[in-house]
């Protein structure tokens, strides 16, 4: 690339913006000149002003990600990292603010980008940064009353064994031990001083209800229709263990607070204990419907880091073709699933979903034959994919009653993409789109305006149904998407119905992409699919990277900080289903209880990703 540098040096828009900022805020803004890092570091006291300038004057109106990094032993500060984008497309403007670990306070940016709300709560919860002026600064993934901030480098989990994997106890003297055996009660668990389990009253529940209080005392004021209802967490309509505490006036929603974290396992802490490659199968477990796109996002972000080093070869063309094939098939899997479940939520119990899931099964058969697993695919590697597409999709009888199938893979893909899937999508369309039950329940419900969608950092179909044609595949293209011909699906009403229609449109666009990918797959037959060295500890140079992909549920980003060692210092997931929930209250206000279920269904969340 360096050989073809343009003669006249043009300044990239980001560079221009950074220079403008530096000119305007001479004393408070400096370049981040650590090796492998980019963007600017803003003085904490002026963060709000600079952020407002970035948003208002420079036009970076979409805040994709906000997360914190703990630099214990490297300056002993925690750093908040923001990635802001222009909704018209283009690269990120990265700005950071540092604050000491012992007294971590930063001003909130909820006034500039309301979408930062949940992300700041997450940073408070897991990293212990207090945000001055945040309207509702509570823990979000852990419960109120939890002691400590788990993502801090000096925080250890109860089953803590060692700081980094691989653990020394496994080899060469690996005498097996269950973790529960070497962790008797009390040992290894940190309790605050003078804490007694008998006298403890959890503040978790009151904290949830305090924020959403009725303003009436039910003991004296019984003549009221206003009630608080807790929807979930064990409720089929919430797609998992998700809970919404709603304040109702009669049947109308007045306020809503999402409560999450029931499936929280601190994916990011696990990721920081893992080596880079060990983390790949864990990304499968984020959005477990779309494991292959998660793999792709993670691979892209680590490849960005590896590209900083000397010995790195980008994936071959065939590897990229296979990646796109997998990503688009995953999109189809996800969208038919989402549409099926939306209908479930509307009360069409399981019939539409079952019809939709047949096609998903057929795609999963292909995934299973190629990757070895239907859902937890673990297929992408840094520098390509794990294995080429097999010649045949063929079962091998092993168990009693095993029935064998044997199909040519390319023929299978061809008729899947050219016949079966388009027919199924048309059928789904005919079945649901004009149905009066569907239109009555969905049209005009859960409206999110264009400006709100951008402000709340909504992503994916939620954003595009509100009239914003923003798609990472076009806004900041990756892989072979620039070569492919497809349209960004967009609808303009921002209601549940339009989110359904956008998904239907995207299904058709995915088919269009797949039809272009198939010949490429044939042309590149025989090329290698992996350019790495196939070692279990690839070298990842020091630096930071933010790799993002257009996942079926929205923009999935991985922010990774490497120190040039085997394990990352920081590994953060910008989870679309988590951040899309920021706007949930906005969408639900004024609607009826039954509509909340439809609205939640139209956002299409997966709790594996929301709670991480």
């Amino acid at each position: 690339m360096s050989e073809q540098a343009p003669v006249a040096e043009t300044i990239s828009p980001t560079e221009e913006a950074l220079e403008l900022l530096q000119k305007r805020f001479k004393k408070t803004v400096r370049r981040d000149d650590r090796e492998g890092y980019g963007g600017i570091v803003v003085d904490a006291s002026r963060l709000e002003k600079v952020a407002a300038a970035i948003h208002d004057d420079l036009g970076y109106d979409y805040l994709s990600s906000a997360t914190a990094v703990d630099y214990l032993g490297q300056g002993d500060h925690v750093e908040m990292v923001y990635h802001a984008y222009r909704i018209a497309g283009g690269p990120a403007l990265v700005f950071k603010a540092q604050t000491p670990r012992d007294e971590a306070v930063l001003p909130t940016l909820t006034g500039v980008w309301p979408g930062v709300d949940f992300q700041e709560r997450e940073a408070w919860d897991l990293m212990g940064i207090r945000f001055d002026g945040h309207p509702n600064l509570k823990r979000i993934l852990m419960w109120e009353g939890f002691h400590g901030h788990p993502l801090r480098k000096d925080w250890h989990e109860p089953f803590f064994e060692e700081e980094l994997k691989p653990f020394g106890s496994r080899w060469p003297d690996g005498h097996v031990q269950r973790s529960e055996e070497h962790n008797p009660y009390g040992k290894n668990v940190q309790y605050p001083a003078e804490w007694s389990p008998e006298a403890y009253e959890s503040p978790a529940e009151p904290a949830i209800y305090d924020n959403i209080n009725l303003g009436v005392d039910v003991r004296t004021d019984l003549a009221t229709d206003r009630v608080i209802v807790s929807l979930g967490p064990q409720h089929p309509s919430t797609h998992g263990v998700f809970r919404m505490v709603v304040r109702l006036d009669g049947e109308t929603i007045e306020g809503l607070e999402p409560v999450m974290g029931y499936l929280h396992r601190n994916h990011e802490k696990i990721g920081e204990r893992n080596t880079f490659i060990q983390n790949m199968p864990y990304t499968d477990r984020l959005d477990y419907i779309c494991s292959l796109s998660n793999n792709l996002g993670y691979a892209i972000s680590i490849e960005q880091l590896m590209a900083l080093g000397a010995r790195y070869e980008p994936p071959t063309y065939r590897a990229e073709v296979i990646r796109v094939l997998m990503a688009e098939l995953t999109r189809i899997v996800n969208h038919v699933w989402a549409i099926g479940f939306l209908l479930n939520d509307l009360g069409a119990f399981f019939t539409p979903m079952m019809y939709a899931v047949i096609e998903r099964e057929l795609i999963l058969d292909f995934f299973e034959a190629t990757t070895g697993s239907r859902m937890m695919c673990n297929y992408m590697r840094f520098g390509g994919v794990a294995a080429d597409i097999p010649a045949r999709i063929r079962g091998v009888a092993n168990l009693i009653n095993d029935r064998v199938r044997d199909m040519n893979t390319m023929d299978y893909l061809h008729s899947l993409i050219h016949e079966r899937l388009p027919r199924a999508i048309d059928q789904l369309d005919e079945y649901l789109t004009t149905s009066e039950i569907m239109t009555n329940r969905c049209m005009g419900v859960g409206v999110l305006t264009r400006d709100d969608a951008i402000a709340y950092s909504a992503a994916g179909p939620v954003l595009r149904a509100s009239g914003v044609p923003y798609d990472v595949r076009r806004a900041e293209p990756y892989s072979i998407y620039p070569d492919l011909d497809f349209d960004v699906a967009v609808r303009y009403h921002g209601d549940v119905y339009d989110r359904y229609l956008v998904r239907l449109d995207e299904l058709r666009q995915s088919i269009r992409i797949l039809k272009q990918v198939l010949p490429l797959l044939n042309d590149t037959d025989g090329q290698p699919v992996f350019t790495g060295r196939g070692v279990y500890s690839p070298r990842v140079p020091a630096g930071e990277s933010y790799g993002r992909v257009e996942n079926p549920k929205g923009e999935l980003g991985f922010y990774v900080v490497s120190e040039g060692k085997q394990n990352p210092r920081r590994y953060h997931v910008r989870a679309p289903s988590f951040i899309n929930l920021t706007a949930l209250e906005q969408m639900c206000k004024g609607h009826k209880v039954a509509d909340v279920v439809a609205i939640l269904g139209s956002i299409d969340i997966v709790l594996g990703e929301t709670d991480r």
Partner: protein
């Protein structure tokens, strides 16, 4: 007209309903018995009921399918090294394992105490194993492979779910039977059906013999 959309939708449901019976008639009401029926019912040509009636019929899994690793040992009727471990206890699988579910005790010579390429003990906690397949992917000796048997339910996890070397060991023949294509590809890469080290030694011996012969002729 109001209600037309629902009517159109119901037609789709009706089509699915009718297709089920057409499919039944097509196979002479022997959908579950006819030898060719299963492969078609579970293919792109499927029109009727798509479900598989487990456990009376099971989808055979493809060769790459991965579910809990096993250790490859030499066939029990092997002339030289029956039941011999292919594992050299190099520890790569234990190091790369993402959930760290592999425990290995490296073998030692009883007299000298020096390590020998053979595991003394090998454990996999199958409750922790996430079936990622890295151990098989990175094993330099093709000694650990992913199994296809997914029916592992047991009554007590504490006693039954930590597999030891005996439980993990399966003959090379088994690997050949569940993944014929890949077993053959690997054998080609190694240069024969034997263990890598055995082949290497054999090569060396052959070369030495060759050298001796040439020496003598000189």
């Amino acid at each position: 007209m109001y209600g037309l959309g629902i009517w159109r939708g119901l037609q789709v449901t009706l089509t699915h309903f009718v297709n089920t019976y057409l499919d039944d008639i097509k196979w002479g009401f022997r959908r579950h018995i006819h030898p060719d029926a299963f492969a078609e019912r579970q293919s792109l040509a499927a029109r009727g009921v798509f479900t598989v009636e487990y456990p009376d019929e099971k989808l055979a899994v493809p060769e790459r399918f991965r579910f809990i690793p096993f250790l490859v040992v030499e066939n029990y009727d092997h002339p030289d090294r029956p039941g011999y471990d292919w594992c050299t206890s190099c520890g790569i699988c234990a190091k790369v394992c993402p959930p760290q579910c592999i425990w290995i005790v490296r073998g030692k010579h009883p007299d000298t105490g020096r390590p020998k390429p053979e595991p003394e003990a090998f454990f996999i906690d199958i409750d922790i194993c996430m079936n990622c397949g890295y151990c098989a992917e990175f094993c330099p000796f093709d000694a650990i492979k992913m199994d296809h048997d997914y029916e592992l339910a047991s009554y007590d996890r504490t006693s039954a779910h930590i597999y030891d070397k005996q439980k993990l060991s399966k003959e090379l023949r088994y690997w050949q039977s569940i993944a014929p294509t890949y077993a053959e590809q690997e054998a080609d890469a190694r240069g024969g059906w034997e263990h890598k080290d055995v082949l290497k030694q054999r090569d060396k011996a052959a070369k030495a013999a060759q050298a001796e012969v040439t020496d003598k002729t000189d």
